[in-house]
Symmetry: C2
Subunit: 200 residues, 2 copies
């Protein structure tokens, strides 16, 4: 990994599911996956969730693309997952760390317009300053214009899927920069096309 | 709170959603909620998730009951949420801490038989021994016979919904016992009636 010294040179993972609230959920999920280029991430799906691992930018690129493809069907779809960096003992998928930083799905997904409501929580582990790290990243979200309000145990983001995922990625990236061995996780529930009135 | 000295005297919360993969998801969610007695918890639902707060036993009682009611329809349903204890600054719902420990939905839910596949992760915050705390609770799950295997970033549980929620509750409770001000969160994705082959 010579030449890469920042936190993104450490492997990032996301274990997530996409839940389409529709009878044809299998078809929607399969369709969403087929359209996404996953060449730069390690990926495995089981009966509960999907795990993608690799460079941070590709993990966010792929998860955003899968969710957006499912959401653009117009069906009520929720992405619910946990991003993770620095988990001790993590090694599978290390070969994917040699990929370059060109995102394979970004251009296409930037053309989509999907409004989302999101609740996310950062968990910096083994760090006595964790509450300040969280507060700093809520301030970053506020600067992006995506932060709406705090709720119990989470912060709420609203806006276009591309803007919201940008905030999620930056908040996660920044929180992981505290030191080179930091272990940080971040949960996110991203909802599109809900029939409920938005509770901003 | 005089007379209560153990960890369960601290307020516990869960922010969760139940996702029925069906066109009539609204009906299934409403039906599941109507059947559950939520008198002993603070509860608020928005367009992304539901938050319940109160004594640990009632938070687990209510979340299990809502999920089980939705799952017993036979539709593919997933519960995805984060349990939390010790979040600094938490005070809403404190009045519910004076409720007794009799679970209002347990008897009814014990009569249901719903097979579930679960992935959960414990996050003890601000604790240098957090990896050992996690390992200890995986051993507890193993002792319950619900633990199936470790996967990236999570542990897998399989079995009846009542057994799996018992493991989740005990793992969470135990992890919170390290000291009286510990802050612990636990994510859980609990899936029923998936058409995918179980990947035990």
């Amino acid at each position: 990994m010579q030449g890469l010294s920042c936190g993104t040179s450490r492997i990032v993972g996301c274990r997530f599911s996409v839940y389409p609230m529709a009878d044809n959920f299998v078809e929607i999920i399969k369709g969403a996956l087929e359209e996404v280029n996953t060449a730069k991430v390690w990926m495995k799906t089981d009966d509960v969730s999907t795990c993608v691992r690799g460079r941070s930018e590709h993990v966010f690129d792929v998860t955003k693309a899968i969710f957006t493809n499912a959401a653009k069907t117009g069906v009520h779809v929720v992405f619910n997952g946990t991003f993770s960096i620095g988990c001790p003992g993590d090694s599978d998928g290390d070969t994917y760390m040699s990929e370059d930083d060109v995102r394979l799905n970004e251009e296409k997904v930037q053309q989509e317009r999907v409004e989302v409501a999101t609740q996310f929580s950062l968990y910096p582990l083994n760090n006595p300053d964790y509450m300040q790290i969280i507060a700093d990243q809520v301030a970053v979200a506020d600067g992006h214009g995506t932060f709406t309000k705090g709720v119990h145990y989470a912060s709420r983001l609203d806006g276009d899927v591309n803007n919201v995922f940008r905030t999620l990625e930056e908040a996660f990236y920044n929180a992981a920069q505290t030191d080179e061995r930091s272990h940080v996780t971040m949960t996110a529930a991203v909802s599109a096309n809900s029939p409920s009135t938005k509770d901003k």
